[in-house]
Symmetry: C2
Subunit: 439 residues, 2 copies
Amino acid sequence: MENRTNMQIAMQLGAGYGIDSGAWRMPGGDPTAYTNMDSYVKLAQTAERGKIQMLFMADTPALGVDLTNRPPQSPMDPMLALTVIARETERIGLVATLSTTFNDPYNVARQFKALDVISHGRAGWNAVTTSNQAAAANFGSQVASRTERYERAHEFIQLVQALWGSWEEGAMTLDVENGIYANMNKIKPINLGGKYLSSHGPLPIPPSEQGQPVIFQAGGGQEGLELAGLYASGVYASPYDIPSAKAYREVVRQSAVNFGRNPDEVKVLPGFIPSIASTEHEALERRKHLDGYTDLTGKVSYLGAMLGVPLSFDDIDRPLSPELRKYANANPQDPRSPRALELVMRGMTIRDVLAHGVINYHPIIAGTPEQVADFMEEWYVSGACDGFAIQPDASFDGVSAFVDQVIPILQKRGLFHKDYEGTTLREHMGVSYQYGLRL
Amino acid sequence: MENRTNMQIAMQLGAGYGIDSGAWRMPGGDPTAYTNMDSYVKLAQTAERGKIQMLFMADTPALGVDLTNRPPQSPMDPMLALTVIARETERIGLVATLSTTFNDPYNVARQFKALDVISHGRAGWNAVTTSNQAAAANFGSQVASRTERYERAHEFIQLVQALWGSWEEGAMTLDVENGIYANMNKIKPINLGGKYLSSHGPLPIPPSEQGQPVIFQAGGGQEGLELAGLYASGVYASPYDIPSAKAYREVVRQSAVNFGRNPDEVKVLPGFIPSIASTEHEALERRKHLDGYTDLTGKVSYLGAMLGVPLSFDDIDRPLSPELRKYANANPQDPRSPRALELVMRGMTIRDVLAHGVINYHPIIAGTPEQVADFMEEWYVSGACDGFAIQPDASFDGVSAFVDQVIPILQKRGLFHKDYEGTTLREHMGVSYQYGLRL
């Protein structure tokens, strides 16, 4: 097994509040975080203090949620937000999602390479296809077939990498004495085209300290695995338990091998949500406090569907009746349901069961810093992952709690680095230098 | 005539060096300015110290020049450069060019409105069509007909403005106590479409302190005038003398009137290049010094063509022979040629004639701060313009020379404001508040 002493951690910044939909209302937080870059910068600087390898901005170019009771899920603009952060941090990696479905390769190549140069080699691109109908409509388009989206994604990523390499290393001479700004023999058109896309180039941006941005992937299915195996150095994933995480990581690694790459060059980072307090009881109180800021009606129904019994919001503060408990069963299609059933059977109220995070998209660990570190260690040493993409419950104090309380434990256990390995994202991740298209 | 006491000044930052192709070699300058955001920030802060209303980034999404002896003409990325500057300045306006030909309205609307919010109401968009073949090839496209480009530009600008207005003022309630993040009755799809483009919306970004970004225009011809009259609050122009500038400004103002707008709402800003020194002689020496850093062979031939006589680079340090002077004449197609002929007839060497800037794209004023201020005053009070888009010869000391030596003269003469009128670009420019599409 590969080196297991440098767990990779990505801190997700989202719209600036945290993953819990009530987080924007937490006392001490910043309700304006979505539009206030100072809040983003503060979170980024805190993450950097913890030597966290990268920030990660998920993104969909569409609103997608009803904002009556909750904030947006994406930043105003991921590239501009990371540009702000680039100038006000020194080391931490800066990864943004941009769609290969609704952009032009030249524009994407240009903005990411500019960010890479501005940040002195810290940029990463999470290249995703978009199947969201609302996003398609924003671009006057329809959702394309999966086949077409992924064919286009291959062309898109190859064009972007080729454009990145079109200004060769050493092209920028800056020879003031002899008046030679650049060597034009090393700045060449790419003239590449495919079925959907083409670009002539060159892109007039020199290499950064890491050459070019690191590529990430987050797509599922066979097509997503191929993109990951061919191009990605990092994969954001959503397994819910260790067996499914291990299985997923193995197929990602096999995909890299299939394309002639070293599997250790592809880091798989499952998402999880820590809710940290000094005792497990307090952590659950924190979760219930957060839940109290949002409307749980839908979550109560969802829990009922997961367990095959009708649940009413009016009963949220009671345990399930003996009658309902008799009929409750774990939906075999949902890996989260056995845990939900177990908590219900222990006689917890519905509110307490929900506070344990049994119906969230990612696993929730509500507990002490040691319990969070235990969870991370167990997944990591069992080979379920190469690290994690952390979704803070409420960012304003959740990021600092993770950095100040969990990171030191991981460091003491020899799982997480004590300082950045270098100055670039590639160095932090321990992935190879790459410049231009890898063929 | 409208108010003549608040001359508008836009400082052009380009690739960070200045308009002279040898500027990157000037001792004391920064040869790495293209990739070094610290240099951009320093120039921006200097311009802000001079209360200059706005920075302006011209842009074409293509290399376009041979970099052997000169730097690029555009920034690595205009939006990212202005985002950096937004965080490290307080008041100065931030205007970038983005093409309506090779972008998507949703992406352009999103990035400009995000920049407007990040900068607290200082963003402006110079909306141009692109007829550059190299740029088209970067997007796998051909240059479209002028008609098609301008039809598309109208649709594009209208979609962008409609998206800007799709999050209505007052929609963002941030009512922490009652848990109401936003009023969804005020965040509505636009569902607008035309012949080339459409978008559903909404764009989930609230208004900035100035509502939405200011629109600028720089296109020529009848089609460009229509765009200016319909949408623009500022127009970047390239007249070479007062009569042509006056005539151009009049047709721009008439175009605004034709579309039911107050002509004072459209500020026409011709470009010019100041070369400032303590005497006129020293200013010309500065120009010759800058010329010495670049290859003048092409400029000598160009001057010859302008005057209808063959000129050789070998004779650059001699006046024209009496024989050549006999045949020299001012090309009536080129407004710059009478001035070139006049200088030649005075017996100047070719190098000295070129140093006066007779063949540059914009007028060059090489002289004392008073001479530069005299030029500006003459154009401004004669109604040739509403201000200027300044192209520093070499930025690293040219911006500070303008700010520290010319601005105080303009202020003393009552032509230029002594402080910013407010905090937003609209306030600096004295143009009306606008939110959403103006119909």
